[in-house]
């Protein structure tokens, strides 16, 4: 499959824009870890996944599980961009009675395949889905994004052992290696050492790519699928707040309640993306 990089980058920009507006409208939220997975979501929903937004529960679809559930806002932005629900719903994020809670709930939001947020659990469910497809000799893929901080959870490594043992080659795990968790740098809290070495040792096909490059992410997924023997791990070299230089540089950017300076920077990023997408500034 060839890649229309320019088209995918526009989709990426749309997701980033919607994510920023959604979070800005709420007034606080998980900016850092939502923005670091935007490129991965753009590749999955813009190119590789077999889905039907008109029919979110289509039985023949590929599944996506956001194990690092606090990245929910950018998943919602992606689903809105794909037409799973109207954009207006994004501006109900975390409001009383909303269909968009900060962490995804499969029973509330069209297009959300699994309820996540208790870290370590989404990956096990993804493994269960991939196993089910394998047992049924179906060619559907299961995609799962886990956080680098999330990989502190032992359950993830249980799931990886299980996936490798059962040769779940239709499972694609994307590690959002943004190098920070809530309390600081992952290397200072629990040093993850080398994810490539670890996933290799756990029996995965593994590649490390620039997580800000839709081209590299796409190619890694295709290469992983071509090998057809092992589950696939793609280590995304990302930064928290990705794509918004001001937020990337902000030290404490896991959960932000914007200051005046933050607000100005976020609004300027929004304006820039809107100009780029040719939509003009929206109030």
């Amino acid at each position: 499959m060839s890649l229309d990089t320019q088209k995918l980058e526009l989709f990426r920009d749309e997701i980033r824009l919607k994510t920023l507006k959604e979070l800005y409208n709420l007034g606080f939220g998980h900016y850092g870890g939502s923005l670091s997975i935007v490129e991965a979501l753009a590749v999955l929903y813009g190119k590789v996944m077999k889905i039907d937004p008109e029919n979110p529960n289509w039985e023949e679809r590929d599944y996506f599980i956001l194990s690092k559930g606090h990245g929910g806002p950018s998943l919602y932005a992606t689903l809105a961009a794909k037409g799973y629900f109207p954009e207006d719903l994004l501006y109900t994020l975390n409001q009383n009675g909303t269909k968009l809670p900060s962490h995804p709930d499969k029973n509330l939001t069209p297009g959300v395949d699994m309820t996540t947020g208790s870290l370590g659990q989404g990956i096990s469910a993804a493994v269960g889905v991939a196993l089910s497809h394998k047992l049924a000799h179906k060619d559907n893929y299961t995609y799962c994004i886990v956080g680098d901080g999330e990989l502190n959870e032992g359950q993830c490594w249980e799931a990886f052992q299980f996936a490798a043992h059962h040769r779940l080659n239709q499972l694609v795990v994307l590690v959002d290696d943004n190098k920070k968790q809530l309390d600081g740098l992952t290397k200072d809290i629990i040093d993850p050492l080398d994810f490539v070495e670890k996933f290799n040792a756990f029996g995965f096909y593994v590649r490390r790519v620039d997580g800000a490059s839709v081209q590299e992410i796409y190619e890694a997924i295709e290469l992983g699928k071509a090998q057809n023997a092992k589950p696939i791990a793609i280590i995304l070299d990302t930064v928290k707040g990705q794509g918004v230089p001001y937020l990337e540089e902000k030290a404490d950017n896991h959960h932000i309640r914007p200051s005046e300076a933050d607000e100005a920077a976020i609004l300027s990023a929004v304006a820039e993306l809107e100009t780029k997408l040719g939509k003009g500034v929206k109030g």
Binding site: N107, S124, G128, H133
Partner: protein
């Protein structure tokens, strides 16, 4: 009312064989049924399933948290996972997985928690769950059962296969006392009255049902007529039946192979205190952990014998006269 045998003989078939045979039967009839084990296949006899239909029994290895999540994932694609492990691993160890990936996500998982309470015998305190019913009961919309014989176990397995949601079934692994004829039917939320009596009602579950029947025999010789209810349906519990017998007998004793906090005794006390305050005593584990030992020793140590129930009944009947 069911007239239970007064012989209190052990069944010829073990509960584990009933589980494995019923699961195999369900799996053969329905390709969506799939068993999950965390390295306890040989303990519960499901190894014969993996030999015969290997795609319908998955041994995850020793990883209960992941097993519960895999079960949730399997159910997302329409499969019906039956998860087995010892009760403490199914609840204490994998509680958040059962809670979030299971009940909160509204997935479809059937859990068999085996080796209930003192029946864990030589596995001792680390493996002796006196709190699994309490934990399961705290999970919204989780159905909680404690089975008392093989007829009931088989019936409930076939029943929960057809009902979406989280169902926790607590069992012993070996032979239970025979209580029910093979054609008996059971309903969630409906306890079974095994014996009528006007002076007191003993509400029991699991292995304590047979002990309660034995206690009722002893009490009868003393002129105390005890009704006995098998309250296998811990949640939903049979509120109407509890209130009805509390009103007629005006004294209640509960008996469970579980901590008196959180399980059957608590569930009955909650019903009584809200709907029909009644003198009651609870038989079961107190502020105690498990330990190794033979079943008879453990039943005496934790005061789970017919004689302990008899004493509790005498006390509560006396207090009624005060």
């Amino acid at each position: 009312m069911i007239t239970a045998s007064k012989n209190y003989e052990l069944e010829s078939v073990e509960m584990r064989q009933v589980y494995a045979n019923t699961l195999m039967e369900m799996a053969k009839a329905n390709p969506q049924v799939i068993g999950l084990e965390a390295d306890l296949m040989s303990a519960i006899s499901t190894n014969k399933i993996i030999k015969e239909i290997p795609n319908q029994l998955i041994n995850t290895g020793i990883m209960e948290a992941n097993m519960m999540g895999v079960a949730a994932g399997l159910s997302l694609t329409g499969r019906i996972p039956f998860v087995h492990t010892f009760g403490q691993f199914a609840t204490r160890r994998a509680f958040d997985q059962l809670f979030i990936s299971g009940a909160y996500a509204k997935t479809n998982i059937k859990i068999l928690g085996s080796d209930s309470g003192v029946t864990a015998e030589h596995n001792g305190g680390t493996h002796m769950a006196f709190e699994d019913l309490g934990l399961a009961r705290l999970i919204p919309n989780c159905h909680v059962y404690e089975v008392s014989d093989s007829t009931m176990l088989r019936y409930l397995l076939l029943k929960v296969e057809k009902e979406h949601g989280i169902h926790y079934i607590r069992t012993i692994r070996k032979n239970a006392v025979k209580l029910y004829p093979e054609n008996e039917v059971f309903e969630a939320g409906k306890g079974k009255v095994l014996r009528e009596g006007e002076d007191v009602t003993i509400i029991a579950s699991g292995i304590m049902v047979a002990e309660s029947l034995k206690a009722a025999d002893i009490l009868q010789q003393q002129g105390i007529k005890a009704a006995v209810i098998d309250m296998f349906t811990i949640k939903p519990i049979d509120k109407d039946l509890i209130v009805k017998y509390a009103q007629t007998t005006k004294a209640i004793v509960t008996a469970e192979n579980h901590n008196i906090i959180g399980g059957l005794g608590s569930a009955v006390a909650e019903v009584l205190s809200e709907h029909c305050p009644t003198p009651m005593k609870r038989i079961g584990g107190k502020e105690q952990f498990g330990q190794v030992g033979k079943l008879e020793y453990l039943k005496e140590f934790y005061q789970l014998t017919a004689s302990d129930i008899t004493s509790a009944v005498e006390e509560v009947v006396m207090s009624k006269k005060d």
